[in-house]
C-alpha cells in the first residue's frame, strides 16, 4: 500500500530577491525518516523555511498534512517540531524551564508543558542536568536540549537541521541513536537535513538530494544504492592518469578514495576491465576489492549529472 505523503511540493520556486533558491522543485516526504541532502546553498534550508511558512513561494505549491503553509502556517507549525541548525536557548533559563516554555509556545497548557518537559529531557538524556541553565551546557548537551524543545509537544513531523553539528564522534553516534529511536520506537516521522551522508544513511529510509535549487535524486536509499552497478576500490602503482582516462572512456566513473580510487563500473563490465585497462595503461593493480555503492556515490553521481546538465 502506498502511504500518503506528509509533505508534498510541486514546481516550487522560491527566490531571495534576484537569487532563485528553489528552481521549480517537486517531491514528497513520506511518513518515516527521510534525509534531505545537498551541499551548502542547495536549497535544503529554503525548503524547510517554506514548509514552516516563513517564505512564500513565487510559483508552485507546497502542502503539509494537506494544509497550505502559506495560508495556514500556524496550523502547520503546531504539528511540526523544528530543531534549528544554529544554537538556540534563552540566556539564564534552565533546560526544564526552556523546554516547558517551548511547549507552552506550541500551545500546551502550562502544567502539561512542565510535565512533558521533564519527560522529554529524561528521554534525551538530560534528566540529571535539567535544572542547570542551558548557557552552562556543553555542545552535545545543547544539541539535546534543541532536540527536546522540538519534541516537547509531540509533533507529527520532526525537522532536524544538522543535528550532529559540532559533536565529537561519540556524541554523534549517541545523537543518531536517539534520532533512530525517535523514528523507530516512537514512530515519529522526521526529515533529517544534513550534509553528512553517513548520518542520513544511519537513520533514514528515504532521501532527497538537492543541488543548485533542484532535486538531483530522490527515492528509497536501498533502491538508490542497490547493486545496480559494480563498484570496486582500486589501488594502483604507477602514473594513474592514462588508466583513469581509459576507464572513463569505457563508461566507468571514478573518484578518489582515502587510499586509491573508487570505480563505478559501466553496465556489463567486471573487474577484468580494470585489469585490462591497467595493463594497457602500464600500471600495476596493487589492491582491488568489490564494494557496494554507497549513498555518497549516489550523492556525488547525482551532483555530477546535475553539473553536466
Amino acid at each position: 500500500m502506498v502511504e500518503a505523503p506528509l509533505v508534498e511540493f510541486k514546481d516550487l520556486v522560491v527566490s531571495y530577491g534576484p537569487v532563485q533558491a528553489l528552481a521549480g522543485v517537486s517531491g514528497a516526504f513520506l511518513p518515516g525518516p527521510t534525509g534531505l541532502l545537498g551541499p551548502n546553498g542547495a536549497g535544503k534550508t529554503t525548503l524547510l523555511k517554506t514548509l514552516l511558512g516563513f517564505l512564500d513561494p513565487d510559483q508552485g505549491a507546497i502542502a503539509a498534512f494537506g494544509l497550505d503553509p502559506t495560508k495556514q502556517a500556524l496550523d502547520v507549525r503546531r504539528r511540526i517540531g523544528y530543531m534549528p541548525e544554529v544554537d538556540c536557548h534563552l540566556p539564564g533559563m534552565t533546560a526544564a524551564a526552556f523546554v516547558a516554555f517551548a511547549g507552552e509556545l506550541s500551545g500546551l497548557p502550562r502544567d502539561e508543558a512542565i510535565s512533558r518537559s521533564h519527560e522529554v529531557l529524561y528521554y534525551v538524556g538530560l534528566g540529571e542536568a535539567r535544572y542547570r541553565t542551558v548557557d552552562t551546557y556543553s555542545t552535545g548537551m545543547k544539541q539535546r536540549v534543541k532536540l527536546a524543545q522540538a519534541l516537547v509537544h509531540d509533533p507529527d513531523l520532526l525537522l532536524l537541521d544538522e543535528p550532529t553539528n559540532g559533536l565529537d564522534p561519540a556524541g554523534r553516534d549517541e545523537m543518531l541513536a536517539l534520532v533512530r529511536d525517535i523514528s523507530e520506537r516512537r514512530q515519529m516521522s522526521l526529515i533529517l537535513c544534513s550534509h553528512l551522508l553517513r548520518d542520513v544513511e544511519q537513520v533514514c529510509e528515504n532521501v532527497i538530494v538537492f543541488n543548485q535549487g533542484r532535486v538531483a535524486a530522490s527515492g528509497r536509499i536501498a533502491e538508490l544504492t542497490g547493486p545496480r552497478r559494480a563498484v570496486y576500490d582500486v589501488r594502483v602503482k604507477g602514473d594513474p592518469a592514462a588508466f583513469l582516462t581509459d576507464l572513463k572512456d569505457h563508461g566507468c566513473e571514478w573518484r578518489e578514495g582515502e587510499d586509491g580510487y573508487r570505480v563505478l563500473m559501466s553496465d556489463g563490465f567486471g573487474p577484468e576491465l580494470i585489469f585490462r585497462t591497467a595493463r594497457e595503461a602500464g600500471v600495476q593493480v596493487r589492491f582491488l576489492r568489490p564494494g557496494a555503492e554507497t549513498l555518497e556515490d549516489v550523492f556525488l553521481r547525482a551532483l555530477g549529472h546535475e553539473g553536466e546538465a
Binding site: 500556524l74 507549525r77 544554529v86 538556540c88 534563552l90 539564564g92 509556545l105
Partner: protein
C-alpha cells in the same frame, strides 16, 4: 493571548535580578517625596503657597518617572530582541504557532508592564493617597481629569520607550550595544534639542527629542509650565505616533529578515 508566555517568562528572567528589583523600588522615591509634600500641605496649609498641591503635582511626578523608565527600559529591554538574535532563540519562537505580531506584542508587554509599574502605578497610587490625605483639595469634580491624564501620560511614556527600545534592540545582537544605542539616542536627541533651543529659543525644537515630546504632552495634560516645550499637544502626539510606527516598521523588517537570513 498567545503572547502571554513570552511576556511572563521574560518578566520572570528580568525580575530574578535583585538589582533590577532595587531599581524598580527606587523608581517609587518620587512618589514618596510627593506623598510627603501632600502630607506637609495638609498639616501646614500655608505651605500650599510654596508647594502647590494640584494637578501639576502629578505632571511633575510623571516627569520624574519618565527619567526612571529610561533606565528601566535600558536594563530590562535592551536585550529583549538582541539576545534572541544572538542566541538563536528567535527561531524557537518563530517556528511555533506564533505570528511575528505575537512575538512583538509579547516583548512589548514586558516593557509595558515594567514601565507602567513605574508610571501608572505610582501615579494612580498618588492620586489615591491625595484623595485620602487631602479630600478637601482633591475631591472636586473639576480635578476628576487627573486620573485619566495619569493613565494617558503613563501609557504614552511606557509605549514610546518600549517601542523605541525594542526597535533598537532588534538592530543589534548585543544587549550592551542596544542599551548604549537606546541611551545615546535619547540623550543625543535631547542634547541636540537643548542646543537648538539655546540658539533659537523656539519651542518647536521639542519635536526633535522624544523626552521633550513627552514633556510637551505632560504640559498640556497637567497644566505644567515649561516654555521650552510648549508646542501644541497635537504636534507632539503626531511626532510620537510617527516614531512608534517607525519602530514597528523596523521590528517588522528585522524579525522578517532573521527568518530569511538565518
Amino acid at each position: 493571548m498567545r503572547f502571554w508566555p513570552i511576556t511572563r517568562e521574560a518578566l520572570r528572567l528580568i525580575l530574578i535580578r535583585r538589582w533590577f528589583l532595587a531599581l524598580l523600588v527606587a523608581a517609587w522615591l518620587p512618589f514618596l517625596v510627593q506623598v510627603i509634600r501632600i502630607y506637609i500641605v495638609t498639616r501646614f496649609p500655608e505651605a500650599n503657597r510654596v508647594l502647590p498641591v494640584d494637578g501639576r503635582l502629578f505632571g511633575e511626578l510623571l516627569a520624574w518617572q519618565a527619567f526612571f523608565t529610561m533606565f528601566i527600559t535600558i536594563f530590562g529591554g535592551a536585550g529583549l530582541v538582541a539576545n534572541d538574535l544572538r542566541t538563536g532563540a528567535i527561531l524557537v519562537y518563530l517556528s511555533r504557532p506564533l505570528t511575528r505580531r505575537d512575538y512583538v506584542v509579547g516583548k512589548l508587554g514586558v516593557l509595558l508592564a515594567l514601565n507602567l509599574s513605574a508610571t501608572l502605578a505610582p501615579g494612580l497610587a498618588l492620586y489615591a493617597v491625595a484623595l485620602a490625605l487631602a479630600p478637601d483639595l482633591f475631591w472636586k469634580w473639576d480635578l476628576a481629569w487627573i486620573g485619566p491624564a495619569v493613565v494617558v501620560q503613563s501609557l504614552a511614556i511606557s509605549l514610546v520607550m518600549g517601542l523605541v527600545a525594542l526597535a533598537v534592540s532588534s538592530l543589534s545582537r548585543s544587549a550592551r550595544v542596544a542599551g548604549l544605542g537606546f541611551f545615546g539616542l535619547l540623550i543625543g536627541l535631547e542634547v541636540a534639542r537643548g542646543i537648538l533651543y539655546a540658539l533659537y529659543r523656539r519651542p518647536e525644537t521639542a519635536l526633535l527629542s522624544l523626552q521633550a515630546d513627552l514633556r510637551s504632552l505632560g504640559v498640556t495634560l497637567f497644566g505644567l509650565t515649561d516654555r521650552s516645550v510648549s508646542i501644541p499637544w497635537a504636534y507632539a502626539a503626531a511626532m510620537l505616533t510617527a516614531v512608534g510606527l517607525g519602530c514597528l516598521l523596523i521590528l517588522r523588517s528585522r524579525v522578517r529578515a532573521v527568518e530569511i537570513v538565518q
